[in-house]
Symmetry: none
Subunit: 141 residues, 4 copies
Amino acid sequence: MIEYHVRRRSGVPAYQQIVQQTEQALRLGHLQLGDKLPTAKEVVAATAVNPNTVLRAYQELQRAGLVESRQGLGTFVVGTLGQAENSAAGDLRRELTGWAAKARSAGLEREDVLALITSVVDQEFPPTAEPLPGAALRERS
Amino acid sequence: MIEYHVRRRSGVPAYQQIVQQTEQALRLGHLQLGDKLPTAKEVVAATAVNPNTVLRAYQELQRAGLVESRQGLGTFVVGTLGQAENSAAGDLRRELTGWAAKARSAGLEREDVLALITSVVDQEFPPTAEPLPGAALRERS
Amino acid sequence: MIEYHVRRRSGVPAYQQIVQQTEQALRLGHLQLGDKLPTAKEVVAATAVNPNTVLRAYQELQRAGLVESRQGLGTFVVGTLGQAENSAAGDLRRELTGWAAKARSAGLEREDVLALITSVVDQEFPPTAEPLPGAALRERS
Amino acid sequence: MIEYHVRRRSGVPAYQQIVQQTEQALRLGHLQLGDKLPTAKEVVAATAVNPNTVLRAYQELQRAGLVESRQGLGTFVVGTLGQAENSAAGDLRRELTGWAAKARSAGLEREDVLALITSVVDQEFPPTAEPLPGAALRERS
DNA sequence: GTGGTCTAGACCACA
DNA sequence: GTGGTCTAGACCACT
């Protein structure tokens, strides 16, 4: 059963954190087709968020076609996402774990590692650019 | 000169994105002691956020002791952060770049890679847990 | 419940006055762990500042780890500060009150008393010096 | 010769800090009738503020009738302020110094002492209240 | 021209 | 209803 961790100070809305963690679990294969998500009550007990916040996250996931809520039964996985758990994933994970160990013994902290990683990933997998706002405005007015 | 990229749709407050990108540039050595940050005006021109949003980010960095704003002159780096650019960093970056290439040829998308990476990093460098809010409150009435 | 008093003519930013008064209340024990700060609305009603100014003060206190804001609930004290209310404080306060009475009967005004006091305190508890700005800059270009 | 100390981070405008420190020196007798203030150049060397900032402070003092600038000669004290250095001041200062020593041995820090003192002084010498803004507006419109 | 503060108002996240 | 973020614009302090 997936366990959510909500960081209130991160600035990311609580319901989005739940959505993102669910999506990530789907990519990693931690959640499989048919798996049951924890009930809102359980999430509330574990994360101290408001029940409505959980419901909103689950609705978002349902609209994305990833889960389905059944009255009185719970919420179940009905979709898949990505390739992170294909045949090569085991190797990739092993290698990355080794890399992380090396980084730690070189004295890097968690934040250093994250900075380095995002730097490399942004270079190798460039994020889709965002149009400058105002473009739409300029056309309209 | 550092260039900021603000993603408005990410849910993360714009001012925090600027703070985080500055911190990352400090960790990676892209910003050095004495370097000048772009003026609020320049950031506004590049990112289309409001000047106050930039000022707020800079003030946050100033309170963290990382930069110092001098009226009429600009904002300057006065602190350092982390170890991401020590002797071993070059090797680590090279290896990680190779790993990323392998991941791509295995068919993983950016989101898959990020999911895999955060999974491994969270395991190897466990984030500091956040105390449940309300702990202090529960003792009282 | 703490009551704030903002002096607009003092030259000190309103949000800093709120921060300082909160810190002082913590030192004096007027605010205890778990206490609730007034809502932004209440402060606005009492001091005629803008809600955003109050929020900014509370955020500053939150970053200092002294309070914690919970959406929809309010802002609560989660940290302590200093020793001004330990066992000896009662005696010290009594003595100081007596001293103030003597000063008044000697014809000193409020401003005279403040001048005398800051002079003595600065001598007995030297303030931490502030580094000359630009030290880091001078090395560079 | 008076020495100014400008704390840039205090939020109080630099020129006001110079004015206030001059007034305080007058009250304490550290500056006497006829004394010469440091030249703008000297203040600049000591505090790293802009010459214009010093000039503005001196102009303010001149408008208050406390000093007088003579071209090519310098700026001189021509007024007095308060009673902080009358006959009883010596005793009061001595007592206060003793009190401060006791406070320190009780473990209070500078900030604790300041909190305690302002609390007592505000009670014994209540600051003149400030009319709520809007009062004037209500009459006008 | 650069940064700092404040106001006003809008919209969102959360309880 | 409470706090969080952002925008827009004004005014001030400083170089």
